[in-house]
Subunit: 368 residues, 4 copies
């Protein structure tokens, strides 16, 4: 270990290890004696992706460490939001990199594409680790030509991926954190009973909306009513633990029942001081999910444009695979679904003063 | 008409008609005496969309006018590219606006959502006109609750939309322009015969790739071979006019045979001076298509986030509808598919010097 | 007032008042009988700017209302951050609109530019109101050809602008809010004395850095030492109220002394739960400031590109004016300068447990 | 050299050399035993910058090679535009990366900042090479503490930079290319005489505008007239070679006289087929220049925010240096100034039919 006082002057180039970094691009086409101009771009775009994936893992690992504690300190909440918002800022770069890669036309790609077989972006270990860390379940993943996704990796990489399945995911940790929240039980105040009554009033009104919608045909109305009844059934499952478990067993819900209710409550009463940061944590988790969803979709269109309906270098139809994962590999679908169960603020039960009082600071900060 | 010399001084505020513009936001919630803060955002985002749609129509109309001429002058090509690239620049704003709208949370939306029924973004006349102008076919459009999309408009708007179906779309005009191109026939040089030979060599190599891919299981290989055979069949249809027509009749191809070949040739020989601008036109058309595809998809995720699985104000499941249109309402799928038929430049037949000579300028501009 | 139950069906087109909105573009060139294609773009870009300015005013007005209260409730902090972050999201659109406007070339602009004289973007009432609301001081504003900025407006607009000078700006309200903060005095704990000692240690080390920097020439070192002494003098002014007032009187500082110290403390101890949201408020204010600074600068380059060194339609050198305002019209320079007074966390005085205890929630939420 | 047939299967991870790439981040703070979380971000942002700088050099080198030919083939023009537009797409990422770096707060930076002394972003060899390649003149560069910019590099890097000064810059090559253009002399047609007459008409009108502007005070009018006279003087220098050389000797113009005129003509008659691509080349050069200008400015604000008025790790006031370079290190100021000399299209002299004829293709492509 080096003491701060004993250090040598630092040189930008060495600090960033640029000799290694800028010497790590070896186009396959150059080895054939006929370098394709755009292969460097192809390499650098993917290297930049991997650098950013490393950074994203660094941020998510920190969030993971915070949520791994038995009791998550309030003072860490701000940092959790900061880490996740940084991931969102990085995702904007990931998206813009698709634009840069699209400046390479399919014909340019063909100059070196066959030299890359059977390599494929599927084989990004770090991206798979990010997905696993976020909480993508192993059996939810798309197969690749009917094989498990790990089949395309070397033994050591496969071991890394398998180890990542053993570790609790961020999803599981946040699930547990939500379950532990003390916000669900307020002494004598039966929050959920009051909420259910408000919901029932809203449902009655929504059904009336459908029944009186002049734009609907008879068939359209029946269809909408069926859709509505399904929605009302959703509320039943929301309030009843065993019904909820059925929905969850069917794979339509993933958070535990109390965690789901806690997330709902945090959203509905986000203005209470103690809920402001938890609300931002949930928002940030959704933003991260949406960022990857968008990126996968854009990626799928880019592949379509690049190879048409050709077979990808990795041996699959790249476009279809990617387009399907865009929707299927989402992790925080439950948070997106929360909106299904919101009711207008004007109809929200007011929290009793004792509860509200417990949710604020008690420094003499009335005027902060 | 006002002579340039007789004009009154112009005042910024009046020039932009800001009295009207800034007085055109009337939140429904304000009418109930309890204005929801975010309804203004909701209105302004949609108004900004409509302003940009007007601008996009203005650009596309100009492109339409250029391609409507019996003979499209070379000197207009640069402007065509300029108009389309402007649309692409605007699409970036359209996407940013989704981010802005997402700063409104579902709970904020609920403060005024029920006041908007049965209005819906489906009812943007201008967006429908854009889609029709680009070339989205009437029978390809998603139905809305089994009704034709025009059913949701007032009579006068419906008439506008129906009129737009009568007008040749940009797709049809570009199709005709490509068909008229003189690049397909080079005197004695049998381009397509030479190209077909090159393709056959490439196909043989690609099949070998699949057969020797160590990552494939037996089943995977069969599947890939089947996929490959389909691809090879695609080439058959490419070179044979009647086979092509069958594919087209099946709805898998839309451009005419000669137009498709012309687009292919423009891509393959894009460096020839006379093809440089036409190549950029085709690129720009694809960029416009991709921009709307991405926007529709982002829009669909935003709706999911905003209303969960609730019924949209327009009476449908907004998210599903939008997500499906993202893929289905694409117009230039043929141009994306072109990549399927590219072969590496190293194997491209060289054009005879007489052809190359005809494709360049003849000013003494060797050194331009 | 309309009861929610008695409402008529809403139609998208009418709700957005599109008949008015889309009829509010009247190119001057069209009046001469020779419409310039790009004038519509010019109008629509500026109209979109004005729509967004209205929205920004709407958000800032809400923040203003919150900070206008004698005691700012904790429960409003989350919303303050939300409003400001929305402004930042809108600023991204403002920037992208510059890209769109730049698709109009100078030659295209010349087709209608002389028809606009003497109108000018200076005359955006709303943008001036935004600047005034944020806290740009009247006498800090750039003059326009030696005249007060209000001279370019109609009487009614001038009255609006003058009225806005009478209202306390957001800067002043936040200044007062920071001054009222209870965080500066912690009973017996003499925070600032402890902090000053830590600072003195850091300053000694920084001076050593300069003295031993091998890259400096003799002259360079003297210059740096002078620069350093100025910085050290800055710390003197930080801790001494009357010295601070001198700096402030010289126009180099604007926040009150206690407000500046409060902002410093919020930054340094931002992880304490009670400071997490105030920290985000300060960050968001800086982001808003930076957004407008960047936009003004980009705007100035765009003008340079559009008219070169010609005289602007408003009668000034547009580029120079805008470039100078980019830096000069910044409001939150104090918050940017805070970094000057930070010391590494490793050397920050620890807050006493009693203080830390007062800064957290007291619900049994250890495990939230 | 490896034959295409004899190749081993390629593995994504090895192809991208990820073992080296992802092992090249060695935070200095980690060496002290107390790793600062954000130092990895700091390293990765800068490494990503350097990867993109490598790519930008790759693109500019290709453009350089094309313009280094004695006679630049028309068929390369499309590719020149493509390379430059790719640089512009990359610059968008460079800008986004500033946003990501700004998620690191000054306090986070302080955790490791003193460990980096005296390293500095000034020391990016590649960025200096980019500037030199584009054409930033050695004596135009900002000094760093009165020393030449090369003084901050190791001997081998200094040698690289000095070698780059010996090589003709892209500016010089484009200058020469423009000078060689045949578009300036059209046989008997005295273009510039006709143009001058048109200009004189426009100048007379512009002076009238100023004289009749009701918004100007007496002093304002005098100032404007002086400004105007300077502009008119600019036109004199435009048409007179020796006057032009004086302006150039004074450092206010850099392109050769004929090159400047050629650039002007390309802009004015950009619709002629032969000028469409050259016009796009000039536009793209301006976009690249503007991209770096904007990035430097954003960078300067970011530094201000990060260190306030502290001394940078490299021993200078980072913010001031960067802000000044934003304007001063621009290369293509001449192209931005061109707009000064444009006149409205309605007053542009028509080119004689023989000239127009020489500027188009002569294939039977009337209907392309």
């Amino acid at each position: 270990m080096v003491k701060r006082g004993d250090r040598l002057p630092v040189y930008y180039h060495d600090y960033l290890q640029l000799d290694r970094l800028l010497d790590a691009q070896a186009p396959e086409s150059a080895k054939t004696g006929d370098e394709a101009h755009d292969e460097l771009l192809f390499i650098i775009v993917h290297q930049a992706y991997e650098l950013w994936f490393k950074q994203i893992l660094h941020e998510l690992d920190e969030v993971h460490a915070i949520f791994s504690q038995e009791s998550v300190p309030e003072r860490s909440m701000g940092r959790v939001v900061g880490h996740l918002e940084r991931v969102v800022a990085i995702q904007r770069i990931l998206l813009d990199q698709v634009d840069v890669l699209e400046t390479m036309t399919p014909l340019d790609f063909l100059d070196f594409r066959d030299l890359l077989v059977p390599a494929s972006g599927f084989q990004s270990v770090q991206f798979r680790l990010i997905e696993n860390l976020l909480g993508l379940e192993h059996d939810r993943r798309m197969k690749i030509n009917e094989a498990d996704y790990t089949s395309r990796f070397t033994d050591s990489h496969r071991a890394l991926l398998e180890a990542s399945h053993e570790r609790p995911s961020l999803f599981e940790l946040v699930d547990a954190w939500l379950q532990r929240t003390p916000f669900l039980h307020f002494g004598d105040f039966e929050f959920w009973k009051t909420y259910r009554e408000a919901v029932d009033r809203m449902l009655a009104r929504d059904r009336a909306l459908i029944e009186s919608n002049p734009n609907l045909t008879v068939e359209g109305r029946s269809e909408q009513i069926a859709h509505f009844d399904a929605a009302a059934g959703g509320f039943d499952a929301l309030f009843d633990a065993s019904a909820y478990e059925e929905v969850r067993a069917a794979g339509e819900r993933r958070l535990g029942h109390e965690a789901f209710l806690a997330a709902l409550l945090i959203n509905l009463y986000r203005d209470e001081p103690i809920l402001q940061l938890p609300f931002r944590v949930l928002q940030a988790l959704m933003n991260v999910d949406e960022g990857f969803t968008t990126w996968r979709y854009r990626h799928s269109i880019m592949v379509l444009r690049m190879i048409g309906s050709k077979i990808g270098t990795g041996g699959t139809s790249g476009h279809d695979y990617l387009r399907k994962t865009a929707t299927r590999h989402r992790v925080w679908t439950d948070l997106f679904d929360l909106a299904t169960f919101f009711i207008p603020r004007s109809e929200l039960p007011a929290l009793p003063p004792s509860v509200v009082g417990a949710m604020r600071f008690h420094m003499s900060v009335g005027d902060v």
